[in-house]
Symmetry: C2
Subunit: 150 residues, 2 copies
DNA sequence: ATTGACCCTCACACTTATGGAAGGGTTTGA
DNA sequence: TCAAACCCTTCCATAAGTGTGAGGGTCAAT
């Protein structure tokens, strides 16, 4: 498939697909006319990259991590230099920290939301579990920080 | 305390402390001479901000989330507009996704590392659990991508 | 009274992940 | 054959988080 289709199937802009390639995250074949030609596997690969970026890893690290995430893994074992392994170990630690922190703060926010919902009772306006519509940002965007100070 | 001490105690550059203030994440008193004057609570607050940034949240969101993370929480309940609550709910969802993804990928990397370690046997060079020294980046920084392509 | 260690603001610069437009090919379909 | 819809590269732009330096105060100790 060409870049447009991959873009649609992964929800990633063409621009970014080219960027990922430029960063060495993916290596893409070219048709004789110079067009990029992707096969099915790139759909997953791109989604994986997107996810890792979402998770806060920089492309530089993703580039190193990706080859270790392939399915028939044992084959690649020998490709890692001790230095890459060290990088991976450090990154694993960082991910663990990240996870701990994320969980902790998610719990805090969750608890807060629970309280708000309970405090307001069932007359709360948007407490409709099951509707996940992202309400268009209203006008009062900046009027929230009434007591956001320490 | 002044900015230098807070900087040392939180491992955050002075520049960043000023930046957090500029972004409205913290509100800081000034001494008569114009110096910023922080009290103890800022240590935790700054660490929290750092953590949330680490976790990938932008300051704009952190600004909203922070007041909900205070200890005597119930007091602040009424400060949240329905719109802020919606933001929080969405952010909570995103955090959950992030966590899932992070856990999944950490497990993959973990599994990979295990395999590498087992595959290489006990003669592996740097498999010294307990030493967490970050080895100074060696020269072969870019020579890793031997087979990082799809 | 001067030095050195702080602090201040302002401002420019860099990186990363993105968006976007310019200028120019290719393919496809009417 | 002409237009629409793709594709290409190159370059410029932006936001966020940071670093760094200039130019200039404050203050404590010598």
């Amino acid at each position: 498939m060409r870049i447009g289709e991959l873009s649609e199937r992964t929800g990633t802009s063409r621009r970014l697909l080219r960027y990922y390639e430029e960063q060495g995250l993916i290596v893409v074949e070219r048709s004789p006319n110079g067009y990029r030609e992707y096969d099915e596997r790139y759909v997953d690969r791109v989604l994986q990259i997107k996810g890792l970026l979402e998770a806060g890893l920089p492309t530089r690290i993703i580039k190193r991590i990706l080859p270790c995430l392939d399915q028939p893994r044992a084959i690649y074992v020998s490709h890692a230099t001790p230095e890459t392994i060290a990088v991976l170990e450090r990154e694993c630690d960082r991910m663990n920290e990240r996870i701990r922190f994320l969980v902790h703060n998610r719990d805090s926010i969750s608890a807060y939301l629970d309280e708000v919902r309970r405090g307001r009772g069932p007359d709360a306006p948007e407490t409709d579990p099951g509707s996940d519509t992202t309400p268009a940002a209203t006008s009062s965007e900046e009027s929230v920080g009434s007591r956001a100070d320490l």
